[in-house]
Each structure stands twice: as C-alpha cells, then as structure tokens.
C-alpha cells in the first residue's frame, strides 16, 4: 500500500500515475491466470480427494484420502522413476550442454544459425520421440550402425538410455540457454586475466569459470529437471515398462483411459508440486531480476 502511494512521486509526470492504471494494465493477465490456471489447479487439488470418477455422478463426489495413500504406497516407485528419469536427463544435458554453451558463446560466430537449429527440439517432445523411435526401430536409419556395433536395435530402442536421451534432447536448449546466458555475462577478460596470471586451462575452468557461472548451471539444471518431470511422449514411446511408470504418463493412463480421475488428479498434484518447487528455485536463480 505504502509503495503504491509512493508511486506517483516516483514516476513523476511521465506515466499515467494512478493505482487504477496499474490494476488496469495487469487485470487481464491476472484474470486469465486465475481463471485458467489457478482455479483449475485448486480444483484438481479438491478432485484429488474424491474417489475415482464420482465427481461426475449425480449424487456428488465421494471424498477420500485413499488416493494419497495409494500414491505414497503403490505409486511410490512411479514417483521415484519420474525423478530418476528427470534427474538423469538433466545430468546428460549438463554434461553435453556445458561444453556446447561454452563453445557457442566463446568460439562460434554463426551463433544465430546454431540458435535457429536449436529450436527444433522445442517443437515438441512428440516429434523427438517419434523420430527417435523411427530411427532406432529395427530397419531404421541407425540399424546398420547399431549392427556394426553389435547391438540389437530393439534392445536400444526401449529402455532407460533412449528415454533419457530423448528427454535430454528436448530440454537441451534450456540448459544451453541458461549456461550460455551466464557465460555471456562472464567477461572473457576474466579468463584472459587468469591465463596471463599463469593458470592452465583446467585451473581457469575450475577456479574462475565454474564458480562464476554456478548460478546459470544450477538454474539450467532446475529448469531441465522441472520440464522433464512432466515428460509424457518419451516414456510412452521409448520406455520399457519401467520408464512407462513415469507420472505424467500414468496420470493419463489412470485418468483418461481407466477413468480414475481422483487418482489421476492426485498424481497431477504431486507432479505440480515437484515441477513448481523446482522451478521456483530456478526462478530465484535465474530470473528474479527481470523486473525488479
């Protein structure tokens, strides 16, 4: 309140300076967020306490907490798988993304071209998963190479490695973007200063670069993890039974296929909690200063 009142003094003559204006500017966005995000989310929290699809029945919903018991009991492995997949994909992103970002920012002149091509994964995990399956399926592009390596296609196709790999491709740009942003804020002069002071490349990396892009790395990891927690198409198309247990997919299976909306909503709530908490942290690391 006090801050708002001070507003007119701060903005002086430049801006239409009344509290009403701020409200007017932000109202449509707020309305939309509340109507189409927060209200439905609160709604599924309620739904997660109802039994199966009883909320549809004329007699009204039956309330229960068994969904949560189920989730922490029977579905605990599913939560763990979800976290495992997202975690591994994040690690893969980090391992490949850091050098990628470094080379991109420090050595590459055709950066816009690279960025344009890097947009491909963003078109959706669906295409990636289809494409990967298509490439890896026996008879696909990679079959000759795999045969050369003595691997049987089908073994590579379904399982942890291919699922994690597809997930990692999808979120790779997020990792590169975050680390790249941190790196481009890091003055190359600092690296040169370290070199001139006699530091070998690995000393420069360990003692100057890494400490200074730490927040970018953490933010990148968190964002990747947050997105991958909701992975759907990759486990469905590329996972074995184990990977297919990931929550977003089970949620769909339980809710839409088996009409257990209560349980499905519960999984939604858990996923949401996972994604939000992780991304809240990443916001703090990467974008807090955007408007403040």
């Amino acid at each position: 309140m006090h801050g708002l009142r001070r507003l007119s003094a701060l903005s002086g003559g430049l801006l239409p300076s009344s509290r009403l204006w701020i409200v007017a500017f932000l109202l449509p966005a707020a309305l939309m967020a509340v109507l189409f995000l927060y209200y439905p989310l609160i709604f599924i929290v309620r739904m997660s306490f109802t039994e199966k699809d009883t909320f549809l029945s004329p007699g009204g919903p039956l309330y229960t907490i068994t969904n949560y018991l189920d989730l922490t009991g029977r579905y605990a492995p599913n939560i763990l798988v979800t976290i495992k997949l997202a975690g591994l994909a994040t690690l893969v992103d980090l391992a490949f993304g850091f050098p990628f970002a470094y080379i991109l920012i420090r050595k590459v002149r055709y950066r816009d071209l690279v960025r344009a091509i890097m947009v491909f994964p963003m078109f959706g995990a669906l295409y990636i998963a289809f494409g990967m399956r298509f490439v890896l399926l026996p008879g696909g592009f990679l079959t000759p190479i795999l045969q050369l390596l003595g691997v049987e296609g089908a073994q590579v196709l379904y399982g942890l490695p291919s699922t994690v790999f597809a997930m990692a491709i999808f979120t790779f740009p997020f990792m590169v973007m975050n680390i790249g942003a941190a790196l481009s804020n890091l003055d190359p002069m600092l690296e040169e200063a370290a070199t001139c002071l006699g530091a070998r490349p690995w000393q420069t990396l360990a003692r100057v670069i890494l400490p200074l892009v730490r927040s970018g790395v953490i933010a990148g990891c968190l964002v990747c993890f947050g997105w991958n927690v909701g992975a759907f198409a990759e486990p469905l198309l590329l996972g074995s039974l184990e990977e297919q247990r990931s929550l977003a997919w089970t949620l769909y299976q339980r809710g839409v296929v088996q009409l257990d909306y209560g349980l499905s909503a519960t999984m939604g709530v858990v996923l949401l909690a996972l994604a939000f908490s992780v991304n809240y942290l990443s916001l703090r690391y990467s974008r807090g200063g955007l408007v403040e």
Partner: protein, 382 residues
Amino acid sequence: ATPTATPQPTAPPVGETVHVSILNRDMTRDEIVAAIQEEGGLVVANWTYTANDELVNQFQKYVRDSYGVNITLTYEGSQAPSTYLTNLYAAQAAGNPPPYDVMAIEENYWADAVAHNAPEAYLPSGLIPNQALVLDQFQHVPTSIAFQSTAFPGVVYSRARAGWMTKLTDLADPRLRGRITLPLPGDITAGGVLVSLAAELGKDYRDPDQMKEVVDYVVDNLVPNALKLTTDSSEMQQLLRSGAVDAVVFWNSLARLEFLGGNADAGLLISPSGVFAVNGYLWIPKGAPHPVLAQIFINWRLSPEVQLPNDWPIDHGPWSEFHEGFLGPAYVDRIPAWFQADYYTYFPTLDQIQTQFKTLDWEAYNTGVDEWMDYYSERLGL
C-alpha cells in the same frame, strides 16, 4: 478404379414415406432431404479405422449422390475410447447435446453406456433397411447393431520363427524371452486377451478373483518375456516384420493387415479354447443432434459396398479394415477376386462365425473388469 457400386439410397421413392422410430415420424423423401440440410453434418466416434479419409469422402459423396446435399462428416479418432464415454456422460449429465451422433466402438462400451442409460432406442428404422442384412446374433435391438463380426484380441506371430505356437499360454515359453509385446492395461484390448487367457487357464471371467489369478499368471509368466507393453499397432507391425519380436498380442486384424501389406509370414493364433468376439457396435446417444444423418450413416456402414469396398481407390491394407467378417449371408459373394484365395485364412466362414465365436456376458464383464484391470495395473506398477 472408378467407384461405381453405390449403396442403395435409404430414401423412399417420391410419394412414399418411411417410419423413423427415433423421431417417431413417417418421413417423405423431401422431409428427409430437408432434415439432412438442416443437420448439415454429423460426428462419428470411432477409434479403429485408418482409412477414414476415404470413408469420409465416400460417405459425403454418397449423401450428395443420393440426396443432393453437401454435408460434413467428422470422424473422431481417439486413442482412448473411454474418453468418448466420459465426454458423452458429462454432456448428458449437464443436459447438453452429446458431442457425437454415432458411436462406433466396442460392445463393452455399449454395455457400459446401457448401464448409464445413455444410448437411444432407434431400431428398427425405416432409414436403416440394411438392418435386415445382419444376423440376429449381431444385433442389440433397439439400441445397437454390429458393424464387425469377428474382431477379437489375440496373438499374431511369425510363422517362421514361432510356428510352434498353438495357444496363448505359449507366450510364456522361455524361447520368447524379450520377443513378444503385450497390451497396456486399461482398455478392451488387454481385457479381451485376459478373458481368452482365462478360458485357456480354465478360469471364469465373471469372477474377479479368478481373473486376478489370470493377471498373476500374465505378470509372472508373460511380462518377463515382453520387450514392450504397447497398444500401438504400427510399432508391433514394424517389430514383427523386422524380426525384433516373434509374437505380438493385439487384434486379429493385424494378421491380415500384415498379409495384405506383403508379409505372408504373419500368422493368426486361435486359441483351442475358443474365441470371444469383441465387435464394434453402432449406436446413437440419447439427444444426438443429427439423428437422421446418424441413421443414414449407420445404414450406409452396414451396406455390403462399404463392408467390402471393392471399388474405392484404396490399397489392400486399408481395405481389410472395413471388413471384419460377414455380418450375414448378403455379404458372402462380395469377396474380391484378388483376395479369394486367402480369404478364409484370415476370415472365418459364415458357418464358423455362427458356431465358434462366443459372446461375452458384457454386464458381468463390466461389473468385474475395473477390479481386476486395476489389479493388473497395480501388478505392472502402472
């Protein structure tokens, strides 16, 4: 090929009327045309067909040719038929018109819908003279009629690599480790297989506890052999063809699709303990916004020209998807020449249909399925 054979129009000749029970009206041709014009289009819920482009074109053409009206046919393909029911029940509970005019999905869903009092009584109808072509065993008058007669989930296997297979329980054979696919839990694909397995294992599908024993058998003996749990037919086809798996558990139609696609190695396994048909049925939800077109569609779908579309410009593979066995004697002599030699390898004779295909007690099935299907999910960890 030029499409010549057009199904007979359902419209009465000028001057005469037909009785349309759903509207409880006698309608002249002009009234029907007016109704079609008014309705303008319809939505069909169906998840099985891939040749739906051609189907859409042909039906629109048929209406244009027969009544001189351009209409739109929306052919809703969805991966989960249960979504249709949820959408339908939700709309009906809200007092909204249902989102679909024709439901073309498996019998069990019809049974579920009946339990929800969702289907409309529309048979017999003057707009559906083709009803007469269909055997009684494929009719649930007044609410539904089959457009398939021999669909069932089962095993399709490689004759070359697994020619020794004779029954469903052979899927547990150690020779098949990592070389089969199984359906995901959830819908009738998994349900149908489990029911057939129950018969093979001597269990009663009506008893959920016995079905759980079947589930245990599957999880303990079959799942370890599975390369992938999937309900994605193309994936199965490709795996089968490339030799990555020796047998897949899916619908019987896959075998002939493979054959028609040039893979003569795919064989269809029919369990010695018999076959439970899980056919697709056509019904109209209560309050459907386009009842006249819905019935014209149903009638058209039942016509021999559409069941065995010899004159459409479509490939052999998709061709077979319109035909799931004879619905009655009227269809028998429409088998195309190019398929006659192999027809009875992949389709039963009318005789076999009438004697070997067993009907499920869908009420009993629907009462118990949630329980044991959930158990299946649980055992799989899904």
